[in-house]
């Protein structure tokens, strides 16, 4: 496909050459062929430090040239290319195609371990979704910093869920599809529960007798999770 294009291009160039059929000297007195005018405005727009008006293009090109017409041709020529001819006010400039803007970044990727606060917050959201900030704070025993939540939003691992039907109608957080993709989960329900974690040796401690009140909580959490997930799946 791209070869086809370049062949066309060459053809066009040849046509241009053929159509000129005038010695170069004569172009001083007669308007250069349109293909030549196109080359000229291409070079001027490329090299100019700012957008150039049609008026200025005409002033800089040999007598008799018609910049406006050449611009139409050049604009067409750049259609679908990596750069485009764009109008800036009453002037013209060559600019990067908008879909390629990402190439104008030199990325230095640095991988850092997610902070403990972020992991815990994320874990609570995953296990208890939809969950309010107050609930997260209750489980973690410390307040949740705005930065932590923002970070998880930035990573697109969490999003807002439905508001809770409790006084104040607080917002809730749920995990996203990106979260599931990243952690290789089909759904948040697939997250192992505490018992399974323990069975897998991820938790080697016995539950202390005093930790009993956690268990009903866990049940609640599981229910809530299901609820949240159904919401997640309904979306």
């Amino acid at each position: 496909m791209s070869e086809e294009i370049s062949e066309d291009n060459i053809e066009t160039a040849q046509q241009t050459d053929a159509s000129s059929e005038e010695p170069a000297e004569e172009s001083l007195f007669e308007a250069p062929p349109i293909g030549e005018q196109e080359r000229m405005i291409e070079a001027i727009l490329f090299a100019s430090a700012e957008p150039v008006t049609v008026h200025e293009l005409n002033a800089r090109m040999p007598h008799g040239a018609d910049a406006a017409e050449a611009l139409v041709h050049l604009r067409k020529r750049y259609e679908g290319r990596g750069v485009r001819l764009v109008r800036v006010g009453d002037a013209w400039a060559i600019r990067t195609a908008p879909d390629l803007g990402f190439l104008m970044q030199k990325e230095q990727v640095e991988t850092r371990k997610l902070s403990r606060a972020a992991i815990e917050t994320l874990a609570i959201i995953a296990y208890h979704q939809p969950v309010t900030r107050a609930e997260i704070e209750e489980i973690r025993g410390v307040s949740v910093s705005r930065g932590t939540v923002d970070q998880l939003f930035d990573m697109e691992w969490i999003r807002f869920g439905r508001r809770k039907m409790t006084p104040g109608r607080p917002v809730t957080f749920v995990v996203t599809q990106q979260f599931l993709d990243h952690f290789g989960l089909e759904s948040a329900r697939d997250l192992p529960g505490l018992k399974e974690l323990r069975a897998a040796g991820l938790l080697d401690n016995r539950l202390p007798p005093g930790a009993m009140p956690l268990q009903p909580d866990d049940t609640d959490a599981a229910e809530e999770t299901n609820e949240g997930q159904s919401e997640l799946f309904e979306d």
Binding site: R112, L191, R198
Partner: protein, 265 residues
Amino acid sequence: MTDDFIEQSKRDAVAERLAAEALIVDVDGFEGPLDLLLTLSRTQKVDLRKISILQLARQYLTFVEKAKQLRLELAADYLVMAAWLAFLKSRLLLPPDPEDEGPSGEELAAHLAFQLERLQAMRDAAAKLMARDRLGRDVFARGIPEDVTRTRIVTYSANLLDLMQGYARLRTKDEFRPFVMDRESVFTMEEALDRMRGLIGFAGSWTDILSYLPEGWGADPKRRRSATAATFAASLELAKEGKVEIRQSGTFEPIQLRARERRGP
């Protein structure tokens, strides 16, 4: 024939003097003796490879002579070159001395010819270079370069294990206190010392140190162990300070202590 030769030499000499005079005007314009030689060589109107070094040496010496007549200050390197060329001239004119081990006049002349040719070649190359289509004069770069933003992308990594462990840590908070000592069951030596300092004043007679254990620390074995150890350590400290005496009647017998009587210094 001979006359012709003499005539020719005369004419040459006149031409050389005129040329030298013309060059004198420009003496500051020369980039050293080699440059001057190169300029002089052009008067021979031959290929640099066929140049007569002998004639060139003569031309140069004429130039220097003329400069001296005009009382022109010539830089030292011009004079050094003149001396060298005078030497070369004699070498070229005299038959080679078989005793002499140095390079022959021809070798020296050939090298000078090479130097001139090389300098000329570099000059031609420089001219060609400067005549090329040059950036900013004939050829132009992009007028509106777009900034490449250097972004540092920080990706945070966390795997499922991190997540699960984080959650487990939270839900079993009480179990996960690996580095925090259970202060409730620990009676420190400092605490024991404070306690005993307040009590030994009243103990004039031998008393089992176990009676110094704080209230409520005797029942739980963990607490009892800690309190006993702390009290014992505190007793030793007090003995060291000379405040108490300690005795034990036998192995595993009760350890007893009493306040030491104060003696005057």
